[in-house]
């Protein structure tokens, strides 16, 4: 099974270790992993900013780079949401591209979803010990239905106790460029998320999107919380947390 790893631009820039953790997990699941060297961004920022032309050019690039793979996997719900849910809207007026976009979308998975649903990975390298709470990212949850999959994977780690926080499904306030356009609102939403997390008593919040991760970690540290860890599910599952 040839799997194309779409690293995503935020992992490339901010947290390469999450990319390597994803690679390790996919290899542990027996996949032949390819990482196309020319990959950059799926076009989500352009799409959400209303720049349809730029979004379409990047979508074409993405499709051409990855359509040779059996599956495409990314450690990010919002990037996969863009590819699976929104690419077809971008190509609505172009039958040939629409077909290619839809074909790619049907084989593109968020990492936890892929590991749980397609690869059915059972033996996980992770050895994390502690109580964790899972933050559902908006795109993962509401565009892709990622909810049970990461929890099922975490439950396979003997040292992990999962506890649910209040408002796990509520937005952390990141929202891409929203986080800087409306910094005050965004930071206030992150604060509410942090309050819920801390009330859950968890040692770490685990999540599947880099945007949420930067937002939540940034707010926790600003609030003076140096203890609560903010971890991507790939790090926890791969034993790199």
């Amino acid at each position: 099974m040839k799997v194309g790893l779409f690293v995503t631009c935020l992992v490339d820039l901010m947290r390469p270790r999450i990319g390597f953790a994803a690679l390790r997990l996919l290899e542990a699941a027996g996949c032949e992993v390819v990482v196309p060297a020319s990959q950059t961004c799926c076009g989500q920022p352009a799409w959400n900013s209303g720049d349809r032309r730029a979004a379409r050019l990047l979508a074409e690039k993405m499709i051409a780079e990855f359509e040779g793979c059996d599956y495409i996997v990314a450690p990010s719900g919002s990037c996969v949401g863009t590819i699976r849910t929104h690419y077809p809207e971008l190509f609505a007026d172009d039958a040939a591209w629409l077909e290619r976009a839809a074909a790619l979308g049907s084989r593109t998975y968020e990492l936890a979803d892929f590991l749980a649903t397609v690869a059915k990975l059972d033996k996980l390298p992770g050895d994390f010990t502690g109580t964790v709470t899972y933050h559902d990212s908006c795109s993962g949850l509401r565009e892709l239905g990622v909810k049970a999959q990461p929890r099922a994977l975490l439950a396979k780690l003997p040292g992990v106790t999962l506890t649910e926080m209040n408002g796990a499904e509520e937005c952390c306030g990141f929202g891409g460029t929203f986080s800087v356009k409306f910094g005050e609102i965004s930071a206030r939403l992150a604060e509410k998320k942090c309050e819920n997390m801390r009330a859950s008593g968890a040692d770490a919040v685990v999540l599947g999107d880099l945007g949420c991760m930067l937002n939540i970690e940034g707010k926790l540290r600003r609030l003076g919380d140096e203890r609560t860890q903010v971890l991507h599910i790939a790090e926890v599952l791969a034993g790199e947390a």
Binding site: D12, L57, G176, G183, I185, K219
Partner: protein, 469 residues
């Protein structure tokens, strides 16, 4: 109503810091969100949403046909159907009706169209005293004609204590602390108005084409007084509110109160048909319908037609993290929250509400609770597209987006830019694991740290690692 949506950013920023406001909103949110959750569990939610959407789509596909049918049926039963192009025409028509019937006082039940038109001011200017009788609207009116901040709970931004203080000041009665007692006091104040008014003005939740009826969903009973006591009743509602049959009304009523207040059915539900007939003990002698365009007709057949399905339940704002943080006033016009972020620019002009379609994280909480399946985030995104197409975005934003998307299409240069970017961010972090002040995005670091990057990009590390193998 005057449009103040251009000031969104400043007002939203101030509201985001207002924890007292957020506490008030969260109390109501708990009530509405939990209530809805319980109530929709009683029905086959997805099937009912799908059926409701289909009913609304059917009407919108042949809006002119259903409106004509409505006009015929309502006229047959003694009503008069008038058409208003905009707010000014609403005001002119209502004032004309008031003059024709020698009206001195008009009692009102909730109507957002009346807010769109600024009707109260027009009535006052014409010598007619408007009295709001919905408790929330009444509170706002006696507080210097304040604007509503929520479409079904207009005074949601006020605490019990603030209202107690207001009542004491305006009613000249000893201060009450119990909500029941305060409500009774308001009822006593309103009773005299109900009995002395010559005209009642209401909105309409739905217009039923086959019977020429207006359906009203209320909880306080004031709607019944407004629509049956005075000799003249004027319904003001948008043209998109028409539905074909009573059967359709029954379907929509399964989902509207549940989505709005978490009620299986509202306390009062009235279907008003025709004028007072011989032998009737109450009902208006004159029944007018003012059916309003004010931007709606232009949406038929456009990319935004889905928005016309809206049945004004407010579930979108009740579930919106942004609305719950800043409240309704920041949105600067009649409709707040996600539905307002879409409707306001469409009704008052995209250029007059530039920030609203961006005032959302696109979390889609609104989309998943909408009873008529309006894809609100998609519509906000389309409005953003129109802003880009019309060159309405700020120069700096356009330049940044253009540069970034060009780089993203040139992997070699992109890799170099990423490499340099990471080093720049690490320089800003000054050896720490976080950036405390970031000049390129000061609004991020005003309220949060920005975690520092690890050090090298994935791309750089991957190249090295693979060479090692």
């Amino acid at each position: 109503m005057e449009v103040r949506s251009m000031h969104f950013k400043a007002r939203a920023g101030a509201a985001a810091a207002d924890k007292a406001l957020q506490a008030k909103l969260s109390t109501a949110k708990g009530l509405f969100v939990e209530g809805r959750k319980r109530a929709v569990a009683e029905i086959d939610l997805e099937a009912t949403r799908e059926a409701s959407k289909a009913i609304r789509d059917t009407c919108l596909a042949d809006l002119d046909v259903w409106l004509e049918r409505f006009e015929q049926e309502a006229t047959k039963r003694g009503g008069r159907v008038l058409w208003a192009r905009d707010g000014a025409e609403i005001c002119r028509l209502v004032v004309d009706i008031a003059r024709r019937h020698g009206v001195k006082k008009a009692i009102k039940s909730k109507s957002m169209l009346s807010e769109e038109a600024g009707l109260n001011a027009a009535l006052e200017a014409a010598g007619v005293e408007p009295v709001e009788t919905d408790l929330g609207e009444y509170i706002l009116q006696i507080n210097g004609n304040e604007h509503p901040s929520h479409i079904i709970a207009p005074a949601i931004h006020k605490t019990k204590e603030e209202v107690a203080e207001l009542f004491e000041r305006v009613h000249h009665r000893p201060r009450k602390t119990d909500i029941g007692e305060m409500t009774r006091e308001a009822r006593e104040m309103l009773r005299a108005h109900f009995l002395s008014a010559d005209m009642g003005i209401s909105g309409g939740n739905f217009l039923v084409a086959e019977t020429g009826s207006v359906a009203l969903v209320t909880n306080e009973g004031n709607g019944r007084m407004v629509t049956t006591l005075p000799r003249v009743h004027v319904v003001i509602t948008g043209v998109e509110k028409v539905i074909p049959t009573l059967e359709d009304l029954a379907t929509l009523m399964r989902i509207l109160p549940r989505s709005a207040t978490g009620q299986t059915i509202s306390n009062y539900f009235s279907v008003l048909t025709g004028t007072k007939r011989p032998g009737d003990t109450d009902g208006p002698e004159h029944h007018y319908f003012i059916l309003v365009d004010n931007g709606r007709v232009g949406l038929v057949g456009s990319d935004f037609q889905d928005m016309l399905r809206c049945i004004r339940c407010a579930a979108c704002m009740n579930h919106c993290p942004v609305y719950q943080t800043i409240g309704g006033h920041a949105y600067g016009w009649v409709y707040p929250g996600p539905m307002g972020a879409v409707l306001t620019p469409l009704y008052v002009g995209i250029e007059n509400a530039i920030e609203l379609p961006h005032a959302a994280t696109l979390c889609n909480q609104c989309g998943v609770v909408c009873p008529v399946k309006i894809p609100l985030p998609d519509l906000m995104r389309k409005l953003r597209e129109q802003q880009v197409e019309r060159g309405l975005r700020p120069w700096g934003e356009r330049a940044a987006l253009r540069l970034w998307s060009w780089l993203a299409r040139h992997p070699g240069l992109y890799a170099l830019a990423a490499k340099l970017g990471v080093r720049y961010l690490n320089w800003l972090a000054e050896g720490e694991d976080r950036i405390r002040v970031m000049g390129i995005a000061p609004s991020w670091t005003a309220g949060r740290d920005f975690p520092a990057p690890e050090g090298r990009t994935f791309r750089e590390l991957y190249k090295t690692n693979r060479r090692d193998r």
